[in-house]
């Protein structure tokens, strides 16, 4: 391999939230990095992965990114898991000129959130060194409305958008989800941004009841969603569909809802059911999920695929760069990536992305899924809509909440 020929070790920095409230995203870190190191060794890649914990704290994320760059003199930065992690790290890396691959944050909060004035598109600039792949709000809009179209509703949607990076991006009246929903014929009731860890959702429930909303959507953190779901039941608000992001990402979070978790729906960015294979290990999605469960005793979760794909992409980039310790060559290699990974195709070719972000953002496929409760209280995520990515098979149909 060329990297070996150069005789220099490539240092990869990786920042993720291993502790703190976002730790669920990082649970596959060790598992993935072990596999990566093993395969890198097999392939004769001289790489070293230096892992830093953001402690789920954006300040800390920026600090450790600096440490990686300055003390560890890394050549390539990898970062994943929510804008709270990706944005500070990307900002630091961009200003230090370190090639960076980022994932697992919708691209709007990542791209727009890093701009000086997010409200003023004229001032938005592309980045020279940082690249991001995931999906965007337009995909979520399509997936959600497709799922809802399978049901008989009055097309009135109540929105729960907090005042955080995700909530502001989703809830923006101009570039958020509402205009897209409107195009698909859905009216959005948005009572306004609330703070995370709110203890009472009566105001939202009243607003939804008044507007006779039959669907609830949003991007909600798990504790808030539980509060909302309970209060909605207690206050006699029973929508036909609840389709939210974030809150029901992990099976553990859904399990805490008990029966109230059944048939909740959300976007699915990766699953054991996806038809992709790893460029690194050759595993299919089901195999990877099983390997994870075997190794850790825990059920598969969506981030596993993306963390894996992040290292896939890194390996690919390093192999393609003439001198992977040369930052500019590495950057060029990222920009010219075209790789089929376990989460789908990663290529920064601007496909489906507006011009201002085309250079830095790549999109991966998104479908819709529903949580189905098993007899024993465990839940399965079932793909119910694939209009947006027909090559990912569905496993069932969208069902209304009883």
């Amino acid at each position: 391999a060329p990297a070996l020929a150069q005789g220099a070790r490539v240092r990869i920095g990786y920042v993720s939230p291993q502790t703190g409230p976002l730790a669920g995203f990082a649970e596959a870190d060790a598992f993935t990095i072990d596999a990566f190191n093993r395969i890198a060794a097999d392939q004769g890649l001289d790489v070293e992965v230096i892992v830093k914990d953001s402690q789920s704290n954006p300040n800390r994320a920026a600090d450790v990114a600096q440490e990686l760059i300055i003390d560890d003199e890394i050549h390539l930065m990898l970062v994943a898991s929510t804008p709270e992690t990706t944005n500070p790290v990307s900002t630091v890396a961009e200003s230090e000129g370190i090639p960076t691959i980022s994932t697992m944050a919708p691209w709007q909060p990542w791209f727009i959130g890093q701009q000086g004035n997010p409200g003023d598109p004229s001032g938005w600039r592309p980045f020279d060194y940082t690249f991001h792949y995931f999906w965007g709000l337009e995909d979520v809009i399509a997936v959600f409305t497709n799922m809802w179209n399978q049901l008989e509703t009055n097309k009135v949607v109540g929105g729960l958008f907090p005042n955080d990076a995700d909530g502001n991006a989703w809830g923006d009246p101009n570039v958020g989800v509402a205009p897209g929903f409107a195009e698909a014929g859905y009216e959005t009731i948005d009572p306004g941004r609330y703070q995370n860890l709110t203890d009472d959702f009566s105001a939202q429930i009243n607003a939804f009841k008044q507007a006779n909303a039959e669907i609830v959507t949003g991007v909600v953190i798990p504790p808030d969603f539980t509060t909302f779901r309970n209060q909605a039941s207690q206050q006699g608000f029973t929508p036909k569909a609840i389709t939210v992001a974030k809150a029901i990402l992990f099976p553990q979070s859904v399990e805490t809802l008990g029966e109230a978790g059944h048939n909740l729906s959300s976007e699915v960015w990766w699953s054991a059911n996806h038809p992709f294979t790893s460029s690194l290990t050759g595993q299919g999605c089901a195999e990877l999920a099983q390997a994870f469960t075997d190794a850790t005793g825990r059920p598969w979760t969506q981030p596993i695929g993306f963390i894996h794909s992040l290292f896939e992409t890194a390996a690919d980039v390093i192999q393609r760069a003439g001198d992977p310790t040369d930052l500019d060559q590495l950057t060029d290699a990222i920009a010219s990536t075209d790789l089929d990974t376990i989460v789908g195709r990663v290529a920064w070719n601007g496909e489906g992305v507006p011009d201002f972000a085309a250079q830095n953002v790549c999109k991966t496929p998104l479908v819709g899924g529903q949580w189905r409760r098993n007899e024993d209280g465990t839940f399965d995520l079932v793909t119910v809509d694939n209009t947006t990515a027909p090559d990912i098979p569905t496993q069932g149909e969208m069902q209304p909440l009883s």
């Binding site: 009472d200 009566s202 009243n206």
Partner: protein, 287 residues
């Protein structure tokens, strides 16, 4: 109608905040101890209840009843072994120690239980409600509120009608002189913290059934609890209950106007009350 509902929901929410606050109020009132770990202790108790529920298959209420004496013992030991040694006129050492404790607890829980969010299952009670004309009130929130009132009554009785309560107040004023009356300040304080931990367990029961919690959930509500205590006036238990309700109602009313203002409205209510009455609604004569 919406406003009536909003205010009722706010009052019920206030019950939850009052439960968070009552234990704090007890400890704050007796020892001037600003316990920054209070929120984390509530979360700790919630995990304890959860463990009892999952391990022994108990109902949440029975589990809380078993957890309460365990928490009492823990509180007693904590006060005896650690906190007593930093009490004094200076509020800083306890502030720092309880902050350290808060950090310790959070991270220990994280090591032990991971960052996953959990919930204490309460079965059908979770979603049960009582219709009240066009309004319907959740059974759990109603129970929360009722518990807050019961806890206040019980503490009030303990504080002002028993000789232990008198010893609490005397020791709070002057531990050295109290010891000349045959009081052991160290153990009086330890008992107070123990009792506060029983209240903490009750708060944990309702926190844990209302929403998910994870090891870092504690501090977020700590500030509301402090607000309730201070609005109420140092050492006034009814005041603490009233304080909780004020914060709760301010939040729901604020949210009804615009959800952006929900939490802000609670804080602003606190500031306004203190502007008008710097020592809270029901201050005690001397402190």
């Amino acid at each position: 109608m919406i406003w009536i509902d909003t205010i009722l929901q706010g009052i019920l929410l206030g019950g939850l905040y009052a439960l968070f606050a009552l234990g704090l109020s007890l400890v704050f009132g007796i020892m001037r101890l600003v316990n920054l770990a209070h929120g984390d202790l509530i979360v700790f108790a919630a995990y304890l209840i959860l463990v009892l529920v999952t391990l022994l298959g108990l109902g949440p209420f029975l589990a809380a009843a078993i957890a309460a004496p365990i928490m009492f013992a823990l509180g007693f030991a904590l006060q005896r072994l650690v906190l007593n040694r930093v009490l004094g006129t200076d509020i800083l050492p306890p502030l720092l120690v309880t902050f350290g404790l808060s950090v310790l607890l959070q991270n220990a829980l994280q090591e032990g239980f991971s960052a996953d969010s959990r919930r204490i299952p309460a079965g059908w009670l979770e979603t049960a409600s009582v219709p009240l004309g066009p309004i319907s009130l959740g059974v759990m929130p109603l129970m929360t509120f009722a518990s807050a009132i019961l806890v206040t009554l019980a503490l009030q009785w303990l504080f002002y009608r028993t000789s232990l309560g008198r010893a609490f107040r005397a020791t709070s004023d002057d531990p050295v002189t109290a010891s000349l009356m045959g009081v052991k300040p160290a153990s009086v304080f330890a008992k107070a913290t123990g009792i506060a931990m029983i209240v903490v367990t009750i708060a944990a029961l309702y926190l844990g059934t209302r929403a998910n919690f994870d090891p870092t959930t504690g501090p977020a509500r700590l500030i509301y609890a402090f607000e309730a205590v201070i609005i109420g006036g140092l050492g006034s238990l009814w005041g603490t209950l009233a304080g909780g309700i004020i914060i709760g109602v301010a939040q729901t009313v604020g949210a009804q106007i615009n959800p952006e203002w929900q939490i802000l409205a609670g804080h602003i209510a606190f500031l306004v009350v203190l502007l008008i009455r710097p020592r809270g609604l029901f201050p005690r004569a001397f402190d």
